[in-house]
């Protein structure tokens, strides 16, 4: 039975697939799909190096503090950071008093509700509070940034590329020298959106947030160029997405070392046990 019906079932699926293949090939030959603007003009993130790259890389706390300052003064006007608590900032090298002050002076206050009176109000943030929600009145929904580095292909490199990748769409050419608006006149960025070839569909609702050198005044003497600010905030957002990165790699090395030693011993034990059987 199996040997009778088996080949019939196999041929049934094969013919159905051939039919699909034929239709697909016919369509591809008669009405080839022209490549889209996204396909031709979307850019992969720039290859930039971060201190936390690779198996030995760790966060640079000074850079995280600078990145936090960029977040605080620029990004936090529109973007929340709800998975992160103020107390977590001690990992950036701030002491408890500094964290308390940062929480207390944070622009958006913590929401309160008094169940006795039904009154809603607010109070200054405490180190135990998470970063408060941000209410955004403009167009679009600014995403929460806590996990942005892990939720985009390319992570920190993507964030840096996006922040530094805004260009004028008029006359924009890709690496092959094809001019976008000549090839795709309909791809003109609509009003209220901004052109950025590092964004998946080339147009996003966020205007360039980092526009001039010195926009954020750094305390540690680092030149706050646009590129530097973008690097720093990308590093900071990698930390908010993966705060245990340093601890993870730090734990990994002794684990691998132990396992390597144990595996060598296991191999020698195996060879010893099998010595008379080969």
């Amino acid at each position: 039975m199996v040997r009778l019906f088996g080949p019939l079932v196999g041929l049934f699926f094969a013919v159905a697939l051939l039919w699909s293949f034929g239709n697909g090939a016919y369509n591809a030959a008669t009405q080839p799909t022209p490549p889209s603007a996204e396909k031709l003009f979307h850019m992969h993130p720039k290859e930039v190096k971060f201190s936390f790259d690779g198996p030995f890389g760790t966060f640079d706390k000074a850079q995280l503090q600078r990145g936090f300052k960029v977040y605080q003064e620029v990004c936090s006007n529109c973007h929340s950071l709800k998975q992160v608590a103020f107390r977590d900032l001690t990992a950036l090298g701030y002491n408890e008093a500094e964290v308390k002050a940062i929480a207390k002076n944070w622009g958006n206050k913590a929401q309160t509700f008094d169940p006795k009176t039904g009154d809603r109000g607010d109070r200054p943030n405490l180190p135990s509070d998470h970063f408060p929600p941000v209410y955004y009145a403009g167009q679009g929904v600014p995403p929460d940034l806590s996990l942005i580095a892990k939720s985009r292909h390319g992570g920190a490199q993507y964030i840096h590329s996006l922040l530094t990748g805004y260009v004028d769409q008029a006359g924009y050419k890709n690496e092959e020298g094809v001019e976008l608006l000549k090839k795709f006149p309909d791809a003109k960025t609509p009003d209220g959106l901004y052109f950025n070839p590092y964004f998946a569909n080339l147009n996003l609702a966020m205007p360039a947030p980092l526009v001039s050198d010195g926009q954020v005044a750094y305390n540690d003497g680092t030149q706050s160029t646009v590129d530097q600010m973008a690097m720093d905030v990308s590093a900071f957002l990698t930390w908010t997405a993966e705060p245990k990165l340093d601890k993870r790699k730090q734990t990994g090395w002794p684990v691998l070392g132990f396992l390597l030693a144990a595996t060598v011993l296991a191999f020698l034990a195996k060879r010893n046990v099998w010595a008379d059987k080969h």
Binding site: V2, R3, G6, P7, V9, G10, L11, F13, A14, V15, A16, L17, L18, W19, S20, F21, N23, G24, A25, A28, T33, P55, Q83, D88, P143, S146, L147, K150, S151, R152, H153, A200, A241, P243, K244, K247, R248, K249, T251, G252, W253, V255, L256, L259, L260, A262, T263, A266, F267, A269, K270, N272, V273, W274, K277, H278
Partner: protein
């Protein structure tokens, strides 16, 4: 059952004697995975993967049970509770990465285990039941892994659940009601998340039960081996302990090295970034893809792009995807060659390697966006997949001339076996 020369359990420790007389559990373990189980002496490293799969299951159960202590299966808080585990639970990040990558490692070793079975025809008589139970385990694993991926309630969780339960809606007449019944609603929401959590917790223990049956069935004929020649005599076997416990110990070391390298240095390598975006029913991801271990079957599902003989393309895809695994159930009866091992089957071997490449191609296409040329490549690759099992294997079995087999496992290992010389005139080497 075992071979007559199997060691008998003779405890010297009075406590073990006392236990063994009242409940022969030590004896049971000794006969199952101890010195009382004679195993062919020529097993290669491909035979490590059964033990590794069992280890991976235990790993998943241990990490999973602890994760369940901190996770909240509610669509309002599930995503945040996972982030709570990652940030605030002591070593929670390690548990979660260990669990997520543990699933990938589980599939890596199980796929290797299955393809070992294909190459050495481990499914052939008298081992059909081991094979059938193995396919059941694989189906249960797929269901468990799919439901586990839904739990973090990210974008891929949500849309994956929607696509996979949507497959049932392809069934004529009862499809849509069936899908709504499975989800507990019209789209994935809290009811679906809760039942997936419940089943995700339950199914691993069902898998454990079927594994016990799988190993039980294995101990009836005993392990197969790379020559495919059955055990004939005591010199063909060695006791499982210490020979294969030692070999498995080394294999486990390699497994753990790869696994820990993933967990500690590339924990998100095999995941999709979109699952770090909270589930949003109003925003469909550009490309919905399942986890890598489903990619070959996902490619088969998507290969059917045209209706065929009144059968809608979607239904064809669903039928084909399920058939791609169900066909394994019939393998013992499709491959009728009396020779087991691919080493002695020159023609079969070529098609086997073609199948390996074919499944890798399917996997690549399944992970790629549903556009040309990937769709056309997966159509060709799916065609080969079905033809391989249902047409090529039966034909190859009947036309192939196998290479001569060694007389015994002993001869295969040592080059000669004095039992092979029955009469002085017979040449010893076959």
């Amino acid at each position: 059952m075992s071979f007559p020369w199997a060691n008998e359990y003779k405890p010297t420790n009075p406590l073990m004697q006392w236990v063994d007389e009242r409940l022969p559990l030590p004896r049971f373990v000794y006969n199952a995975v101890g010195a009382g189980y004679p195993v062919p002496r020529n097993l290669n490293y491909m035979w490590n993967f059964g033990v590794l799969a069992g280890f991976a299951l235990v790993l998943q159960i241990v990490t999973g049970v602890v994760l369940a202590m901190h996770y909240a299966a509610n669509d309002k808080v599930a995503f945040d509770s996972v982030e709570h585990i990652m940030r605030d639970v002591n070593w929670g990040w390690m548990l979660r990465y260990a669990h997520a990558n543990g699933a990938s490692m589980f599939f890596i070793v199980v796929y290797t285990h299955i393809f070992r079975g294909f190459f050495y025809s481990s499914y052939k008589a008298p081992r059909e039941m081991i094979w059938l139970l193995g396919v059941v385990i694989f189906l249960l694993m797929m269901a468990t892994a799919f439901m586990g991926y839904v739990l973090p309630w990210g974008q891929m969780s949500f849309w994956g659940a929607k696509v996979i339960t949507g497959l049932f809606s392809a069934i004529p007449l009862v499809g849509t009601p069936l899908q709504e019944w499975l989800l507990g609603g019209f789209a994935p929401d809290n009811a679906a998340l809760n039942r997936f959590f419940s089943l995700h917790f339950l199914l691993p223990f069902v898998i454990l039960g079927v594994i016990i049956l799988h190993v039980w069935a294995l101990h009836i004929p005993g392990s197969s081996n790379p020559t495919g020649v059955e055990v004939k005599q005591e010199s063909d076997t060695v006791p499982f302990h210490p020979y294969y416990t030692a070999k498995d110990g080394f294999g486990l070391g390699i497994f753990l090295l790869v696994y820990c390298a993933l967990v500690f240095f590339a924990p998100n390598l095999l995941g999709h970034p979109d699952n770090y975006i909270p589930a949003n029913p109003l925003s469909t991801p550009a490309h919905i893809v399942p986890e890598w271990y489903f990619w070959p079957f996902y490619a088969i599902l998507r290969a059917f792009t045209s209706d065929f003989l009144f059968i809608p393309a979607k239904l064809m895809g669903v039928l084909a995807m399920f058939s791609a695994i169900l066909v394994w159930f019939f393998l013992p009866w499709l491959d009728t060659s009396p020779v087991r091992s691919g080493h002695y089957r020159p023609l079969f071997r070529k098609f086997f390697y073609l199948l390996v490449v074919d499944v890798l191609v399917l996997g690549y296409c399944g992970g790629a966006p549903a556009e040309e040329p990937y769709v056309m490549i997966s159509q060709i690759a799916s065609m080969y997949y079905f033809l391989h099992f249902l047409v090529i294997l039966p034909v190859v079995s009947s036309i192939e001339t196998p290479a001569p087999l060694p007389f015994s496992i002993t001869e295969a290992v040592l080059g000669k076996d004095e039992h092979a010389t029955l009469a002085p005139a017979t040449p010893a080497v076959a």
